[in-house]
Symmetry: C2
């Protein structure tokens, strides 16, 4: 039986997941609740409750480090600069929790955590250089090089959703234009469907729906809707451009697609993604193209990765000056 | 006085440079000759001669590892898969030289070597996360993360000239379309100048020249030619798109522009590059933008980086099975 190495927490706009994770990356225990709305102090309190609750279930859990993956821009010192989907800004998550929990705490971006989780215990196991794109409401990402997560100088590495695929292109929620998120996120897939339906007379079972989002488009595609299938093929092409740029920069062993929307989008998007990557990666005939595959850990990727990261990187709270252990 | 750590060799299409490099990255001795044309065996012989010649100048140089940066796609085991500017293909440079030199040998891409050189001993000194674009006849690059050069799964990382800035855009010598090299290399700057002159009636002192290349455009811009200045501003914009994608993926502390064309292009291109990067990096108001600066080591960057890489990564030739030391 593997022993626990850390507690991992994954905080998205909707769900807050907590898990105790073993040395081999398997989950020993998991919990789930809604992400508290509105303010930082209720979020900190919720994390504290979840850590206490899950720590009660294991004899050695009280001293385990805690890793927190959170949807937002996170500084290396665990300050969440901006988490629009959770409604927080400049919240010193690591500092507050170290004081309250009296254990090592590390905070990182949620998609980066998921990438690390998949690399260590999921679809990327045994590979040391892995890129992951997470397709959900937005598009996130994570970069693992030499077996280590790349967090970057300011903690903002891995924002693969903001690799630019079309200069002056579609407006992205980040405020810029032409990011791959503006083409391949669930939100943007829905928007593109509506724009195309409004612009043309194409037949589609999406026409007339009250709400057209990425899930509706994927469902229509799965039901044989040609309009929806074509849109997802186009999405796959844009994703391929972003992947190709990253492959040229980093030459990973493998590229993973994860996040809530990936498995529904992939059947229609992935063939075009692969073709587009082949057409835009340097070295035809001199290299193998990295496999582009679906992630396998699902909702567990983030908690696993956050726990692994904390086990390896969380500064001890005593060493960090928060008082004696 | 610093002692020598390795011999670094930088092999481009025109010049073959050799240097003995000290622990602090300074050069103790340097040599230069033309890159031999045509075939692999003359290249191997030239390297052997240069190593012998420079080894004679230092008492401890006979056992120093040798690092070779070479313009081409290089596998991690030191096989040069494809070096079109040098005229070689599938040449096992490391294997051949280990047997002949009886010392540790490492081979890597020349632009990656230059990036490592600048990070350790040049404009990036003291920074652990540095990206470098090298602007020359083509556009190369190198990625340093956590103080270590990223070589990638197949040795092809750092091909930043092939980050895609315009899907379906200009044809790149790599065979693909829309790579930043197709907009920002010396070759492509010359081509774009000719295309614009042929397409319009714009006044320019470039009009009527026998040969319009990147150097001619830069010179014209420096001489006040508005047409050339506008072209270089556009080049700066495309470079900014590629840099922004890389910054979003990797969040480096600094981005460097090096290579033979950088200092001539920069006065006109760099302001637009910086503006474009600002407009396309995620997290306005929540982060500092990485500085984008000129490299400082010039022609020494490649030899310094190759030597540093060999000192840290060259497998011992005995350990590599090439016989006893």
């Amino acid at each position: 039986l593997s022993s626990a190495i850390a507690i991992g927490i994954d905080i998205g706009g909707t769900r807050l997941r907590t898990a105790t994770v073993a040395t081999d990356g398997t989950i020993l225990d998991r919990r789930r609740r809604s992400t508290p709305a509105a303010d930082g102090s209720s979020l900190i309190a919720a994390i504290e409750e979840e850590v206490a609750a899950i720590s009660g279930s294991l004899p050695d859990a009280r001293s385990l480090p805690v890793g927190i993956g959170i949807a937002g821009l996170v500084s290396p010192d665990g300050l969440v600069r901006y988490g629009p989907n959770i409604g927080i800004r400049d919240l010193p998550v690591a500092e507050e929790l170290r004081a309250r929990l009296e254990r090592p705490v590390a905070v990182l971006n949620d998609a980066s955590a998921a990438a690390l989780g998949e690399q260590r215990a999921g679809a990327g196991q045994g590979r040391s250089d892995v890129l992951m794109f997470t397709l959900g409401t937005g598009v996130g990402g994570g970069v693992v090089v030499g077996g280590q997560l790349v967090v970057g100088a300011g903690g903002f590495a891995g924002e693969l959703g903001h690799v630019i695929v079309e200069r002056g292109g579609r407006r992205c929620p980040c405020g810029n234009r032409g990011c791959v998120e503006a083409y391949a996120s669930g939100r943007s897939i829905g928007e593109q469907a509506i724009e195309r339906l409004e612009a043309g007379s194409r037949a589609s079972r999406l026409r007339g729906l009250d709400e057209v989002d990425g899930a509706a488009v994927s469902q229509a595609a799965a039901d044989g809707d040609v309009f929806a299938q074509e849109l997802l093929r186009d999405v796959g092409g844009w994703l391929g451009i972003a992947i190709a740029s990253c492959v040229n920069a980093l030459d990973p062993e493998m590229v993973l697609l994860g996040g809530g929307a990936a498995s529904a989008v992939a059947p229609f998007a992935l063939p075009t993604t692969r073709t587009t990557v082949d057409e835009h990666v340097i070295g035809h005939g001199f290299r193998d193209m990295p496999p582009i595959e679906l992630a396998v850990l699902g909702d567990d990727a983030g908690t696993v990765g956050a726990a692994v990261y904390a086990a390896e990187h969380a500064p001890d709270h005593a060493a960090a000056g928060e008082g004696p252990a």
